[in-house]
Symmetry: C2
C-alpha cells in the first residue's frame, strides 16, 4: 500500500456504469438541455396515495429506531402479500427487512460465501452485483447469455463447466435487469436441479416479479423453496412495485434458520431500516388491486412502443423484452460508453437529448457488451416516443 492510500479493495470497487455519466448529465442540464432518462429504472409512475398519506398523517415523534428484523407491521404486510401469491409457507421469521434490495444482495453474498468463493451469474447482469461482490470478497463467475436467444439460459453443460469447488451459489434475476428476460419453468427447474446436484444456494432477485408481459406467468423461486428449504434465498424489493425507490425497503427471504439467525445479527449491527419508509410500505395490503394491474398495463404499453420504435432504427437489434422494464439493445456504434457520453456532451435535438446506460458494465467479461446499451422504459409514452426519435437522429449523426 502506498502512503496515505485507501485499501486496494476500495480501489477495486467498480464505478457504476449507470451513475458514472451523471456529471455529464448535470453539466448538460446546467446548459438548459432536457434529458430523457432511459438510463435508470427510477419509475415516473406515482407511488400509491395511500402510502404517501402515511407521511401526511404522521404522528410518531420521536422518530425512534425500528426493530432490527423489521417493523412487525411491515413484515406482516409482506408476509400477507406472499401468502396471496400462494406461498403460504412463508412465516414472519423467514423475512428479514433490508435497506432496499441492495442490502439484501450484500448480505446474501456474505452469508453464503467465504472470501474467495464463487457465485455463478448470467451475463449481462445487474451491474451492482459487481460492487457487492467486491465488498464481500466474492468472485462472480459469468455464464454468457446472448441477445439472439433473448438472453435465455444456456443448457446444463455450459453452466456446469463454470461450477468449481469454490462455487457456493447461483444468482438469478427474474425478471431480469438489464435484459428483461423472464425465466421459463424449464429454466427454473434446471437451476434448481443444478443447485441440488452440486449443493449450491440459489439466490433469486425477484424485484420485478410483477412485470411479466404478454400473459405469461412468473415462475418464482418461492415455487421451489420447500423443495430446497436450506438452499433457497429470495431477494425482493418494494422499489419498483410501488415506485418506492427512495424508500429503502427490501426483503431477504429464506427458510434456512441458521442463515436467518446470522442475518438478524448483521441487521442488529446496523440497528434498523428507516422507520418512516417501513410504515409507508406496510400499507401495501391496502393498495387497491387495480394499482398493480394498471402499472403492469402501462409498462407493457411502453415496452411495445420501445420495441416497435427501436426495431425501426437501422442497425439497432433487440429481442422483444419479456418482463421488468429494461432491455439490452445492440447499437451500430463501436463503443457505447463513448456514444452515451457524446449524447450528453455533444448531441442536441431541439435542445434535448437522451441518456442510456452503456452495457459493458453489465458484463463481468472484459470486452463484452461494448456495442450494447441498457434502456429502461420508465418514461410516459409521449416522452418515450420523443426519446426514441432523439436516439434515432443521434445514431444517424454519430461517427464512432
Amino acid at each position: 500500500m502506498k502512503k496515505n492510500n485507501s485499501s486496494q479493495r476500495l480501489l477495486n470497487v467498480p464505478p457504476s456504469p449507470i451513475r458514472g455519466l451523471v456529471p455529464f448529465a448535470v453539466a448538460a442540464k446546467k446548459q438548459g438541455v432536457k434529458i430523457y432518462h432511459l438510463n435508470i429504472g427510477d419509475p415516473d409512475i406515482k407511488t400509491p396515495e395511500i402510502m404517501v398519506d402515511v407521511l401526511r398523517k404522521w404522528s410518531v415523534n420521536p422518530i425512534r429506531y425500528g426493530q432490527s428484523r423489521g417493523e412487525p407491521v411491515f413484515i406482516e404486510a409482506v408476509k400477507d402479500y406472499y401468502h396471496k401469491l400462494g406461498h403460504k409457507f412463508v412465516k414472519d421469521d423467514n423475512i428479514q427487512v433490508t435497506s432496499g434490495g441492495s442490502e439484501g444482495i450484500s448480505i446474501a453474498m456474505f452469508a453464503t460465501c467465504e472470501p474467495g468463493d464463487e457465485i455463478i451469474v448470467f451475463e449481462p447482469f445487474y451491474t451492482n452485483y459487481n460492487s457487492y461482490a467486491t465488498v464481500n470478497g466474492v468472485k462472480l463467475i459469468p455464464v454468457r447469455t446472448f441477445e439472439d436467444t433473448g438472453f435465455h439460459l444456456p443448457g446444463a453443460k455450459v453452466i456446469e463447466k463454470k461450477i468449481s469447488r469454490k462455487t457456493k451459489a447461483i444468482l438469478i434475476t427474474n425478471p431480469n435487469n438489464p435484459t428483461g428476460t423472464v425465466l421459463t419453468k424449464k429454466e427454473m427447474e434446471l437451476i434448481v436441479s443444478l443447485a441440488k446436484k452440486h449443493n449450491l444456494y440459489v439466490i433469486s432477485d425477484e424485484t420485478y416479479r410483477e412485470y411479466v408481459y404478454d400473459g405469461k406467468k412468473h415462475v418464482s423461486l418461492f415455487d421451489y423453496m420447500q423443495k430446497l428449504p436450506e438452499r433457497a434465498i429470495v431477494l425482493d424489493s418494494m422499489s419498483k412495485r410501488y415506485s418506492l425507490c427512495g424508500a429503502r425497503l427490501g426483503m431477504f427471504v429464506s427458510l434456512n434458520k441458521e442463515i436467518m439467525e446470522g442475518v438478524l445479527r448483521i441487521a442488529q449491527g446496523r440497528l434498523s431500516v428507516g422507520l418512516i419508509d417501513q410504515y409507508m410500505g406496510a400499507k401495501l395490503a391496502e393498495v387497491e388491486g387495480s394499482y398493480l394491474k394498471n402499472v403492469h398495463k402501462e409498462y407493457q404499453k411502453r415496452r411495445d412502443i420501445l420495441y416497435q420504435g427501436l426495431k425501426k432504427i437501422p442497425g439497432v437489434y433487440l429481442e422483444k423484452p419479456e418482463g421488468a422494464f429494461y432491455t439490452v439493445v445492440k447499437l451500430p456504434v463501436k463503443d457505447s460508453g463513448k456514444f452515451c457520453q457524446w449524447l450528453l456532451t455533444s448531441f442536441r435535438y431541439k435542445n434535448e437529448t437522451v441518456m442510456l446506460a452503456p452495457a459493458a458494465g453489465f458484463y463481468a467479461t472484459s470486452g463484452l457488451g461494448k456495442n450494447e446499451a441498457r434502456i429502461a422504459y420508465v418514461l410516459n409514452t409521449k416522452d418515450l416516443e420523443k426519446a426514441i426519435e432523439i436516439l434515432r437522429r443521434a445514431l444517424i449523426e454519430y461517427k464512432g
Copy 2:
C-alpha cells in the same frame, strides 16, 4: 463447510448484547410488565417539529431515488452545520451521506483495511464495531481503559505496544458510547501524533458531539483534519442530535480524495439513502438554536440524577459520565448477562422492571466486563428515578 450451512463468517458475526435480550423483554411485556429501557440509546426527546412537518407537507411523488452521494439539500445543510462549528474547510465533496452512522463505520473499515488488517480500539467500545469488523474481515485490537480513570486513554507506550505492521487505523468514539468519556485535547493530540508517527488513519465517531457536560468543550477530529488531511475520517450521525434514530442518516467526512471517490462507488452500488429521511434531515439549518441547548440541559440533568442515584446503591461503582448519554457501571453481580436476563424474566417491582445492556459485549477481550453494564439515560427524569429505584431493589434481591 457442512452441508446446507451458512458461511463461517456469518456464524462469526457476534450477537448484539444490546438487542439479544429483546425476546425476554417482549415476553415480559406480553405479561403486562412495564420495562424501563436503560439498555438502548433511543432518545425519548422529541424530534424537532420542523423536521416532522416535512412529512406532513410531503408533495414529492413518486418516491424517487436520492443521489448516491446524498441529496444536495441535505449535504448543503450538513456542510453549513460544520461551518458553524468552525470547520469552514469542509466542502460538499468531503461529505458522503450514509444510511445511519452504521453504514459509515462499515465503509470506513472497508476503505482503510485489507482483510486481516487491524484497527486499534479502546475497550469497552461500541459493540456494533464488532459486527462491522467481522463483516469487513478486520481485526479489532483492543487497548483497555478502566472505570477508575473514567475510561480515559492510557499513555502512548501502552497504545504503541498494540500497533503492528497490520495496523491501519485507530478508531475513537468521542464522546464515548458506552462509557460517556470525553477525550481531552491532550488525548486527541496523542492520537493524532501516533497516527502521524505510524502512518495510520484516525477514524473518529462523533455521533454524540453535542453532548459534553459541565461546561467542557468538545475537541473534534475536525480540529486536526487539515493537519492530517489524508488520514482523518469523521463519522457522524443525525440520530442522537435530533432524535432521528429511525431516520437512517449518517455522514462520512474526509479530505482524502481517493477515499471519497471509492466511497462514492460503494454508495452508487447501494443506489441511495432514504429520500424522505434526507429531506427531514435537511431542515437542521432551520431548527432553533434553543433546541440543542435544551436537549443538552435535559441530558445533563438526567446524567446528574443517574450519577447521584447509582452512587448511592451499595456495591455499584461509576465515575461521573462526561458526555453522550451512556455510562458503564460496575455492579455487585458475578455475571451481568445473567442479571440482565433475570431482570426481564424474574424480577418485578410493582409489576415493573428495568432493562440494561450487559457490558461484556462491549469488550473484545473475553472475560472482561462481566460485572459491568451499560446504562443509557434517555428516559425522562421521573422514569429515570423510578428505574434507578427498581435497579436498587433488584440488586438487593438478586442472588448471583
